[in-house]
Amino acid sequence: MGINLEEQFQQKIDQEIKIEPKDWMPQKYRHTLIRQISQHAHSEVVGMLPEGNWISRAPSLKRKAILLAKIQDEAGHGLYLYSAAETLGISRDEMYEQLHSGKAKYSSIFNYPTLTWADMGAIGWLVDGAAILNQVPLCRTSYGPYARAMIRVCKEESFHQRQGFESLLVLSKGTEDQKRMCQEAINRWWWPCLMMFGPPDDQSPNTIQSMQWKIKRFSNDELRQKFVNMIAEQIKILGMTLPDPDLEWNEETMQYDFGKINWEELKQVIQGNGPCNKERMDARRKAWNDGEWVRDAANAYAAKHSKQL
């Protein structure tokens, strides 16, 4: 009977029939999804912090509004994703607990500091650019609520990358200081962005099963290569360079070759030893703990009034 259900399940996946919350699914599919969706949601929410640093210092009212709207979108994306994970039988508060206790991971990229204004542009262009490559195929992922959340996310995300590039473009045409700011931000974010796609395929234990279940549709290395190809072209418009002497167009593979990634660094960041891991987690825990009395009060009020509209 169990085998039968599993076969039927795989058949549905193979026929591109979406799995919906109440459908039967293998335990491991459910757990993989909870892990992946909640990590994704945590990344959105933690990802608000490095950019949030610069809301108060944005250099013009227009940039301030754009940055604020963008970071707010990330809160929204976190919310859509938490909701998708909740359909699998885990509560948002439980996911928060996993994040706050350090049990759940989030994207390594958000453990790097935002040191200048140009980092806002670099995050939009590179980090969001990398995220979009991951997210677009996820709009067709096999689990219905996840796919629907990703469609909504992708619709909103496209402005994020564009505003980032445009902001760098202005800097690249600006004063010497601004050009330096721009180049240094690109230098600092480039390698962490490549790491963000995750370990190489031969060291990524989850990839094969996830591909079979169509939770993931491209491997880490495929997406990483796609990203390099894309950015290596786009950077020409900025008149800036990528900090990789080995970056070169390969006529045979019709791809860009690129240098060795420092996987030890990624390992350290994931283990909690990145430059800002502690600050990010402290900020999340503080927001959660400081908000507890507020959430309790709203519950108490609702219980007293059970208000109708």
Partner: protein
């Protein structure tokens, strides 16, 4: 088959053994604001469509949260919210009995009827 309607949380997964109860909800989870489903009419003349969910302590807050979360880009002109626990859904195991019987009633569809080409506006 005695009952066609069973009560499910949106997102509940029916026959699964390993349910949320195995997560040992903590105090905070017990105090979590309830989950609501949001339905939005994107423009006059269209149906309300399910767009997602959110948490809110009460209906007033849920309505405002829906506005703040789901209509930031002019996505809607009217909002419905329903507390998720009030949504009833059919058991997926009953799907065959519920929906397959409609399969062979092809005469319910206009394309079933072959009519002469000269006949217009029908």
């Amino acid at each position: 088959m005695k009952t066609f309607i069973r009560k499910f949380f949106y997102g509940d997964y029916g026959e699964e053994k390993n349910t949320a109860s195995e997560h040992n909800p903590s105090r905070q989870t017990i105090n979590e604001w309830p989950l609501w489903e949001v339905f939005i009419r994107s423009k006059q003349g269209l149906d309300h469509k399910h767009v997602g969910s959110l948490h809110a302590a009460d209906a007033t807050m849920a309505m405002e949260n829906a506005r703040d979360v789901y209509t930031r880009r002019n996505e809607g002109i009217s909002i419905w919210i329903v507390e998720s626990k009030n949504i009833h859904a059919n058991n997926p195991d009953d799907a065959d009995a519920l929906f397959d019987p409609a399969n062979d009633k092809i005469y319910r569809h206009p394309s079933f009827y072959e009519l002469p080409d000269e006949l217009k506006h029908m």
